[in-house]
């Protein structure tokens, strides 16, 4: 559903409607990310002990995000909005490459391929929506384009299968984690800004 149907004049979607759409998208993206991770874990990671190695962090670790309710409630909503933007931007590049590289995995099921493409598409839409929201909440503030660079492409192309599969595992693990953070923060922001913290 386009934000403003064609032909409409001075159509101004409410901030509440923008948040509703953003939360629907973030919920959907996390659902897909979680399913993709679980599917990959079941098919390629069983018995390889990847979780013990996955603790070396994600490429977005440099973005200091709230890790508990108190931190999330104390942070100013503009800072939290910009953090969400930063995490979303940080996933543009890896998602683009994931769609290509997943196709090279041995017997990669279509369901994983489809999800990777769908997430990449929806992530872009959510980023657009968030830029509209930030533009509405902080008019005129171009904001500093904070994001975290990803340098993981070579590891997705390693010759050694175990190392390459671990690189995919870690990327999908991080995608599941970050998409859950974004979904959680947006639900919090929506309650705070639209429902006066009384959802």
């Amino acid at each position: 559903l386009p934000i403003c149907p064609s032909g409409s004049v001075n159509c101004q979607v409410s901030l509440g409607e923008l948040f509703d759409r953003a939360v629907k998208l973030s919920h959907y993206i996390h659902f897909l990310s979680s399913e993709m991770f679980n599917e990959f874990d079941e098919r390629y990671a069983q018995g390889r002990g990847f979780i013990t190695k996955a603790v070396n962090g994600c490429h977005t670790a440099s973005l200091t995000t709230p890790e508990d309710k108190e931190q999330a409630q104390q942070i100013h909503h503009e800072d939290l909005l910009n953090l969400v933007l930063g995490v979303l931007r940080s996933w543009n590049d890896p998602l683009l490459h994931l769609v290509t590289e997943v196709q090279r995995i041995k017997e990669a099921p279509n369901t994983i391929l489809w999800k990777a493409a769908e997430i990449e598409e929806q992530n872009k839409r959510l980023l657009e929506g968030m830029e509209k929201i930030v533009g509405r909440v902080q008019p005129g503030d171009t904001g500093n384009e904070v994001y975290s660079r990803w340098s993981g492409l070579p590891s997705l192309q390693l010759a050694d299968e175990d190392s390459r599969l671990f690189a995919f595992y870690n990327l999908l693990h991080c995608l599941r984690r970050d998409s859950h953070k974004i979904d959680n923060y947006l639900k919090l922001l929506k309650c705070r800004l639209i429902h006066d913290s009384n959802c």
Partner: protein
């Protein structure tokens, strides 16, 4: 007399995505007084910490309050059993609090009878579990409702995020049992079912009955 057997971390649970508790099962104590220590470290940290609170959640448990609970972070947890003859360490247990949330059951379940277009329906209302902060949006819960008459099979309805639900096509004169349970919208486990609530539908429905 011998060194203690290997303890096993059985389960970790968070009731509201703000604190969590882990429980372990002791191994054999080797016939000697045995002491248990829970140690953990968090992803990206070298520091090994000891359990902050062995008491609050009862024997063989460790309670992590808000100050010691972080989401989106993997905890590597082990339990060590020690007696005079030696010690034994459990296998590591990896926990991300995001995935171990099991709320308490919903509260204040109130079934009531209504009429719409001359047809009787059951309207059930409830409240989220008190510990769960759904108001601020920190935790989003979804609900399921189940319904039956005495001796029959349960019929379950996936309700979604709302805290009330209307059920039509019921049999006047029947006595129904209603229960609700909840879970976080993405990850975690269903709560226990709420207390059973009973409601008797009048057998002969007219507006004046309400």
């Amino acid at each position: 007399q011998s060194a203690p057997g290997k303890p096993e971390i059985m389960r970790c649970r968070s009731p509201e995505k703000e604190t969590f508790t882990c429980w372990w099962k002791p191994g054999s104590d080797g016939g000697l007084p045995t002491n248990y220590t829970l140690n953990y470290y968090k992803e990206g940290e070298e520091l090994i910490n000891e359990c902050p609170d062995y008491k609050t959640a009862g024997p063989n448990s460790c309670y992590f309050n808000k100050k010691h609970t972080s989401l989106w972070t993997i905890y590597n947890i082990t339990v060590k059993a020690t007696n005079r003859m030696g010690s034994s360490i459990s296998d590591p247990h990896y926990v991300d609090v995001t995935y171990i949330v099991q709320p308490d059951p919903p509260m204040n379940v109130i079934p009531a009878v209504g009429i719409q277009d001359g047809k009787p329906y059951l309207l059930v209302k409830w409240s989220p579990p008190p510990l769960a902060d759904v108001r601020s949006g920190w935790l989003t819960l979804i609900y399921e409702l189940r319904l039956k008459t005495e001796g029959e099979e349960w019929e379950t309805f996936l309700v979604g995020q709302q805290t009330q639900y209307k059920i039509f096509s019921l049999n006047p004169g029947n006595k129904y049992i209603v229960q609700i349970h909840c879970k976080p919208d993405h990850h975690g486990a269903w709560s226990e079912w709420s207390q059973e609530k009973y409601i008797q539908l009048p057998s002969d429905f007219r507006m004046k009955d309400l």
